[in-house]
Amino acid sequence: METTQQATASAFVESIKAQFPEQLKQSRGTLVGNASYLNFPTQREEDWKYTGISFLQKEKYNFSRFTETIDISAFRQDKNAALIVFVNGFFRSDLSSELPEGLQFSDSVNHEFPEIGERKNMFTGISDAFFTGGIHIQVKKSVEKPVEVLFLSAGGQSVSVVKNHIEISKSASARFRFLFRSADSSSYLTNSITTIHVSANAQFELDQLQFESPAATHYNRTDVTQHRDSKFSINTFSLDGKLIRNDLNIISEGENTETHMRGLYMVNGQQHVDNHTLMDHRVPNCYSNELYKGVMDGKATGVFNGKVFVRRDAQKINAFQSNANVLLSDDARINSKPELEIYADDVKCSHGSTTGQMDEEALFYLRARGIGEESAKKLLIRAYAGEVLDAISDESFRLYLEELIDSRFHWNNV
């Protein structure tokens, strides 16, 4: 029997299916039908306990290849970086630049992807069936220049379903930057799913900037597999959007891997940011470190759920996890759930979670030295966010983020 949740999900999926370009339907085959059997996530599920998305039921989204001219220079950070552009989930070769040697790129719409089996939900189902593009890249040898991938939404009520696949070959290294931006302040849905394979002895850094329109909904899932002696870093900055949900799953499959997960979420108004992370240590002798920091203003809500999983016999694991939150207003909220699930004994694992407000004494100290209230608050928040920002290896990108953060908040109201 179909449950209400299934009925809701299939209604939602059907509304998307109806808009899905005919020519793509053929290539997706049965996956188009499979998407609708999934449940619509409700807050009765542990995974969605603090994040309600029922408002999506009222939304009607469409797939639109935005053909008007857009000046994308405002959305990119580094004019020298290699650039790949997607608008509303469709690849735009006219806006993209030449790619450096060592990268083998194609639009993922030309590829077949296996159905997402583990931890699937309605969004992964939609992605399996209805993706319209994405990057499919193999990094064959080390690339010095950062690669920028711009996912732009424009025109309103659009749905961008992208599927990315990045493979870093043995001993290669690369830096990628995903920029999720909007050309206007309209409502739309971004559904981005990325799988990353970091081969033995390879290094990969991914910076994600989620600076969507204030009315946008963003579902993001990143599945990473790390092999022997590899290093992977991910930095996620969630700065604007109505609702952002990030699912990050990292599996360490080879020994001696190093993993860094960092996140900064700064939201105000009615915004909602939910970060779910899972670090799955399957083999011994690995290191992982996680740091997520949040600032909530207005009526914003932050959710953090980080899990460190150490499998049986995965000995000598050092795994650390930390989540810090600052609430700036009376109506701001935070729900934090750091988890450890450990089945091996010779490990060092810890997690910490703190929540507080702006330090009155530090503020007083600055003000007593003639620094205005607004500047003082800005300074304190910057210092607080600095711990995450400092992890970015590219200084110009870090400065760019700092500017974005300043432009977002009007600290005099804090």
Binding site: D330, D331, S336, K337, D345, V347, K348, S350, H351, Q357
Partner: protein, 482 residues
């Protein structure tokens, strides 16, 4: 001179469950199964007033609509709720006669625990209300307590003699529909302890009850209610023991604490029920709902628990900090060995202003066991200047066990300051080596290190419990060194 009850006490206060034994007291049992007639039978047996029967039946009807929770990190053979005797009472005349009935091996265990029977008898500062298979057999020190106006009696007695107090507070902290096991308990509870400390009274002694599951195949459904009136203080001890059983036994108790203005309740538990054998056969299912409410301003509730027994533990002693400036504390040591599973922790619900809570949880897993901390810290909107500190440490003693931490932190007020930290690590090899080098054998060294690790919690226990608990830790971890 000591009366008959003392021997009984001696047996049940301390033991390692290598040698369980059954007390042969003729029971008056209700037939197996659960339906409205059984509830009426229990209620009639206990000569209860009409309102209580209605209350029970209401709980039963709610229970029927509920499903057993499955979110805990435990795995067990489901309980057949129709295969349990919900009432069994020892016939009042017959009591356990003498020490001769005690297994000599058991006496050796007592010796190992370092508590001689004579010494036990001298622990006169402890008043004990013995709950044996659901009906209070003996109540001691009642007169002494009565002098201070303190009411300390069995729940069934309280229902008869102080119905107004029972009616006023029963089910106010843990409502009948709170959860599956609480609803079941509300429907079928047979006895338990009741305690009322009047205004301004500081209870002169540690109050305690010892529970014992005795009759085969009886579920134990205790109901405890402690009320501390304005400016009063009480320290309440609870210790649990049970003999060996092949079949799983269910224990679904409810404990409710009410602290009025400026009152303080300290509730300590040493739980050492039969954990099942090495292969996880047998053992108690411990599904307990414990909750206290700091109703008045400046009140305080402190939970301390040492959990070493039971096959499955599902227990979250909680505090609702409703009064302004109220304080909640939770100190816990949970030890699991062999195939034991524990999912335990606390909830701190901050509602009043300037409320404070502290959580210190120490988990120790050995053998093939799984030990989880699951806790909630909730700061409601308007609970200004709330403060919480949580620390959850886990110690792993074998490569086949698991240690897990699932804290939930929900903050709805910007003035809140909440800190949570957790660590998981192995028992230090260098520490063991250090001890070995000084001629301390590994087993003793581990006991030493574990006791040091738990010190923060053990220090919260009243003196005699602390001694007992330390030895209990050593006994529980026996043979866990791989």
């Amino acid at each position: 001179m000591a009366y008959e009850g003392d021997e009984l006490l001696d047996e049940i206060t301390n033991s390692e469950y290598k040698y369980g034994f059954v007390t042969n007291i003729e029971s008056e049992m209700a037939p197996k199964g659960l339906n409205e007639d059984i509830i009426r039978f229990i209620s009639a047996k206990k000569n209860e007033p009409e309102w209580l029967l209605t209350w029970r039946l209401n709980a039963f009807r709610q229970w029927q609509k509920m499903t057993e929770p499955s979110w805990a990190h435990v795995d067990y053979v489901p309980v057949d709720y129709q295969d349990i005797h919900y009432y069994s009472a020892p016939k009042p005349k017959k009591e356990l006669s003498s020490l001769d009935e005690v297994d000599p091996e058991l006496l050796k265990t007592f010796e190992k625990l370092g508590i001689s029977l004579d010494e036990q008898k001298r622990l006169t500062g402890v008043a004990v209300d013995v709950v044996m298979d659901s009906v209070s057999v003996k109540t001691t020190f009642k007169e002494e307590l009565a002098k201070h106006g303190i009411i300390f009696c069995s729940m069934s007695e309280a229902v008869q003699e102080h119905p107004e107090l029972v009616r006023k507070y029963l089910g106010t902290v843990v409502p009948v529909s709170d959860n599956f096991f609480a609803a079941l308990n509300s429907a079928v509870f047979t006895d338990g302890s009741f305690c009322y400390i009047p205004k301004g009274v500081r209870c002169p002694m540690e109050l305690s009850t010892y529970f014992r599951i005795n009759e085969a195949k009886t579920g134990q459904f205790e109901r405890t209610l402690v009320i501390a009136d304005e400016s009063s203080y009480v320290s309440y001890l609870e210790g649990c023991t049970a003999p060996i059983r092949d079949e799983h036994q269910l224990h679904a108790a409810v404990v409710e604490l009410v602290a009025l203005e400026k009152a303080e309740i300290k509730y300590s538990t040493v739980q050492n029920w039969y954990p099942g054998d090495k292969d996880g056969k047998g053992g108690i299912y411990n599904f307990v709902t414990k909750r206290g409410i700091c109703l008045g301003d400046h009140s305080k509730i402190s939970w301390t628990q040492v959990e070493t027994g039971s096959a499955i533990t599902w227990k979250y002693p909680s505090c609702i900090l409703k009064g302004n400036n109220s304080i909640g504390e939770f100190y816990s040591v949970a030890v699991t060995n062999n195939k034991q599973q524990a999912d335990t922790g606390t909830k701190m619900i901050h509602l009043g202003k300037n409320t404070k809570s502290t959580i210190v949880s120490k988990g120790i897993s050995a053998g093939y066991s799984n030990n989880s901390y699951r806790g909630l810290v909730k700061i409601a909107k308007g609970a200004t200047n709330a403060r919480n500190f949580s620390q959850c440490d886990s110690l792993l003693m074998s490569d086949k066990c698991g240690a897990h931490t699932f804290p939930y932190i929900e903050i709805n007020d910007k003035s809140a300051k909440v800190e949570h930290e957790a660590t998981t690590s192995k028992i230090g090899e260098d520490q063991i080596f250090y001890c070995n080098q000084r001629g301390i054998e590994t087993e003793k060294a581990i006991s030493l290190i574990v006791n040091g690790y738990c010190k923060e919690v053990l220090n919260q226990l009243p003196m005699e419990f602390a001694v007992e608990a330390q030895k209990l830790l050593a006994v529980s971890l026996e043979g866990s060194v791989g």
